[in-house]
Every structure is written in structure tokens, then in C-alpha cells.
């Protein structure tokens, strides 16, 4: 762990804006069946952030390998590459005030181009790609920017209803600067007709929140004759500024 990336910024000690629990999915969403027995039934205990939530681990670029953000090559045999439509995914990690979040650790995972995950418990008949592992990671730059290269994942069926399919998606896990910002979400692809059919997408009530998880095709960011590009910005909770320095932090 290192704070290298954050060096020319003032340390942030404010509490985070309250989470909008109507905007996020509710815990109990019976059309997504697994949530039924895994959703807390009692009210959450609301708490202003303390130091335990305002602080969080920060990761340095020294943890990254050269191919960590290149899923086409990071599991492939030398000289080979993963099969599927080659894409670049790029964007920024912002906070709710629109400021870039530098030094954020992004970890991502996905199915291969056929919709198959490299996992013991995965039984879909689509074949594994011997050159595709399905995981990657990166750390945002000084402006909160990031980029990764991968193959577009395929949609896949999953046991929920008799014929439920996930739209093509990439899972993202994000560390900001405070543990209260911890977030896992999924990126969907512009124009995918499977998005509105998906029970997991439907755990989100507000169509605007679903749009915010849908990456736009960006032909201006493509690599000609190589990869198309999708732009996906991620927003983490913003912090209250410490307006009065003589007050205790976080309050």
C-alpha cells in the first residue's frame, strides 16, 4: 500500500454523503430468487461516518503487473490471445461532486466471448477459452481515468427463472479513499436488448440508474482495425468538505 498517487492533494477527512438507498437496489428482490434468503429483513442502523468508515486502504501502482488491465493477454500463452470481439473500456472514477478520484483500485471480471466463466461451479455448455482467464485490475490516474482491454463478454443463461439470461456485462469492484465508498457494480453495453429483461438489472428501480451503468459505444476512442471502445464512468460517494477546521473531523 502506498499513498504515492495522492501526494499533491490535501488528505480527505470529511464524512461521505449519505447513500441514497432508493437509488440502489433493495436487499429483498424476490424476482432475483437468491436474494430471498440472503436479504436482511430488519432496518439498517444509520450512522454518521466515524474514522472507521472515513479511512480506507489505498493501493499503490507497485501491485500492478504490466498486463493486469489487458484481459486479452494476461492469461494467454505467449504469442496467443483471447478469442472474441476486441474492445477497450475506458472512463473515469468520479465522486458525487464530479471530481476525479485518483488512485482508486478497480478490479473487474467477466465471462468469455461465449458467455462462459472460468469457474468450478459454472456449468454452461459454452466452451472455455484456453487463453482467457477473465480477471483484471488497474488503478486510476491523477484525473481518475482508467483503461482496460478485453473481449466483449457473451450473454449467458443462469438458473433463476426457467429461461433467464444475463445481458453482456463486466463486473467492477471499486476502492475509493474511504471504506464507506466500497462498491461492486456491473457495466452493461449500449444497445443490448437483454438489459431490460434481466432480473438482476431489475433490482434497480430507477431507469436513470440503469442508464448510468450502461457504457456508450465510442467510435472516436477505438483503435482502428483492432478494437472498438466503450466509455464507462463510475461514480463513488462524495465527501463533505471540512468547512470548519476547528470541528472534529467527520462531523
Amino acid at each position: 500500500m502506498s499513498e504515492g498517487m495522492l501526494s499533491n492533494r490535501k488528505p480527505e477527512t470529511g464524512a461521505f454523503f449519505q447513500r441514497d438507498r432508493e437509488w440502489h437496489p433493495q436487499a429483498y428482490t424476490p424476482w432475483y430468487k437468491t436474494s430471498v434468503l440472503r436479504s436482511p429483513q430488519k432496518a439498517l442502523l444509520s450512522l454518521d461516518n466515524t474514522l472507521s468508515e472515513i479511512t480506507g486502504p489505498v493501493f499503490g501502482h507497485n501491485i500492478l503487473g504490466a498486463l493486469d488491465n489487458d484481459l486479452i493477454h494476461n492469461f494467454a500463452k505467449p504469442g496467443e490471445s483471447a478469442i472474441g470481439p476486441r474492445i477497450i473500456v475506458y472512463g473515469r472514477v468520479l465522486d458525487e461532486r464530479g471530481r476525479g478520484v485518483p488512485g482508486a483500485l478497480l478490479e473487474f471480471w467477466q465471462a468469455n466471448a461465449g458467455g462462459r466463466y472460468r469457474h468450478k461451479k459454472e456449468g454452461y455448455i459454452a466452451p472455455l477459452d484456453p487463453n482467457f482467464g477473465g480477471c483484471g485490475r488497474t488503478i486510476t490516474d491523477e484525473d481518475g481515468g482508467y483503461v482496460l482491454r478485453t473481449v466483449q463478454p457473451g450473454p449467458y443463461p443462469w438458473p433463476n427463472g426457467p429461461n433467464d439470461w444475463r445481458p453482456a456485462h463486466i463486473h467492477f469492484s471499486i476502492f475509493g479513499h474511504g471504506f464507506a465508498q466500497r462498491l461492486i457494480t456491473q457495466m452493461y453495453f449500449e444497445g443490448d436488448p437483454m438489459i431490460p429483461l434481466c432480473p438482476i438489472v431489475k433490482t434497480i428501480n430507477d431507469p436513470a440508474a440503469i442508464s448510468d451503468l450502461t457504457a456508450a459505444l465510442d467510435m472516436s476512442a477505438t483503435t482502428p482495425m483492432d478494437s472498438r471502445a466503450y466509455k464507462f464512468d463510475i461514480v463513488l460517494r462524495g465527501r463533505r468538505s471540512t468547512l470548519f477546521e476547528n470541528r472534529l473531523e467527520g462531523n
Binding site: 500500500m1 440502489h24 466515524t50 468508515e53 480477471c135
Partner: protein, 204 residues
């Protein structure tokens, strides 16, 4: 009309799904060779100060069945009550302690296990000391947004009795859901997602 506040909305959470381990603990999922080791698999080294403890437990669903596909992260202060974070303004935390751990629950038993140290006390926002505690964050298939809770220590009765966060729990019968049981070598902390023993989860 008034001036707009120009706030962005936080990206909506989506479940971590059944294959979260591919992304967050790939070596555990037998995807080897991409990263040298899984992040968060080691919190301490030979030089870490403080009392070594192991925290073990399970995450249980509404039928009492342990989740075998969950992922648990913890975040805690060092033995002196300092966080290893740029937002920690009170001093430098033990450089040999990360304060952060990540563990996939075992695919057979559902157990998680963290080798760590007992944290020191950290001040609440009004300056009172909180009791030693560890912050937990739980994600899994079927959990739509990561669950935050805290683990307190069963051998800290006096500190727990004056903890300002525990004091906020209106239904005192639920307080034991946040208190880990001392066992040989550490503490045991089971997290109940539902039912009579449902753990107190936080909106923080």
C-alpha cells in the same frame, strides 16, 4: 426555480454474483499466473506490533445454511488504534500492518479466516473512545448491495458498555450479534443475514 446542486448520483450497486472470486481472489479460484497472490490475503508480517489473533466465522442465510460463495473484507485500526490510510491524521500507523483483509468463504465449510492483530481503540466523532472493533463488508450472489457491519470483542465488556455506536442499538437483544466470542487463538464471529439472530447491519 433555484440553483441546481449539480450532484452526480453514485453508481448503483449490483450483486457481486456467483463468480466474484474470479475477480477478487483469482488464485483461490485456481486462476493462477495472472497475479502473484490474492490481494488482502495477508494483513501482518513478522514485525507487526500487537496481539496476534485469528478471526474465523461464517455468513449464514435465512435457513442457517452457511454461504459457500461469499466474499468478506475487513478493515481495522492497528494495535495503537491508528488506520493505515492517507485519511488518518492522528499519526502514522504501523507500517507492517495493512489493516485490510479479504477472504473468500470456504467452498465446503463456508468458513472465513483472518490472521490479524487486536485493534486499539479509535475515537468517535465527539472524541469519546469507541471499543475495539473490526469493520466487515460482505458481498455474495443474492446480496444486491454490500453489507457493512462491525465486530466487537467478547472480552471487552467495559469498553463495549461505553461504546457510542453500540449505544445506538435500540433493541438491546440484538447487541450480541455484533460481539465475537473469544476462542482459542482468537475470536469467532458468525454473521446472520436473516432470522432471529440477524446481525445488525449499518447504513454508513
Amino acid at each position: 426555480m433555484v440553483q441546481p446542486l449539480n450532484r452526480f448520483k453514485e453508481s448503483a450497486s449490483q450483486t457481486a454474483g456467483p463468480y466474484v472470486h474470479i475477480g477478487l481472489t483469482p488464485n483461490f479460484s485456481e486462476i493462477n499466473g495472472v497475479y502473484p497472490h490474492d490481494l488482502g490475503s495477508s494483513m501482518v508480517n513478522d514485525k507487526t506490533r500487537g496481539k496476534r489473533i485469528a478471526i474465523t466465522g461464517r455468513v449464514l442465510d435465512g435457513t442457517g445454511t452457511p454461504l459457500r460463495d461469499a466474499l468478506v473484507e475487513i478493515w481495522q485500526a492497528d494495535a495503537d488504534g491508528l488506520y493505515n490510510s492517507p485519511s488518518e491524521m492522528r499519526g502514522a500507523a504501523d507500517p507492517n500492518f495493512t489493516g485490510w483483509g479479504r477472504c473468500a468463504t470456504d467452498m465446503v465449510s463456508g468458513e472465513f479466516r483472518f490472521e490479524t492483530v487486536k485493534p486499539g481503540r479509535v475515537p468517535f466523532n465527539d472524541g469519546r473512545l469507541m471499543a475495539p472493533h473490526v469493520t466487515f463488508w460482505i458481498v455474495a450472489r443474492g446480496i444486491n448491495i454490500g453489507l457493512h457491519t462491525r465486530m466487537y470483542f467478547g472480552d471487552e465488556d467495559a469498553a463495549n458498555a461505553e461504546d457510542p455506536v453500540l449505544a445506538r442499538i435500540e433493541h438491546r437483544v440484538r447487541l450480541p450479534t455484533l460481539v465475537a466470542e473469544p476462542v482459542e487463538g482468537g475470536y469467532r464471529f458468525d454473521i446472520h443475514l436473516q432470522g432471529e439472530k440477524e446481525t445488525v447491519f449499518f447504513d454508513i
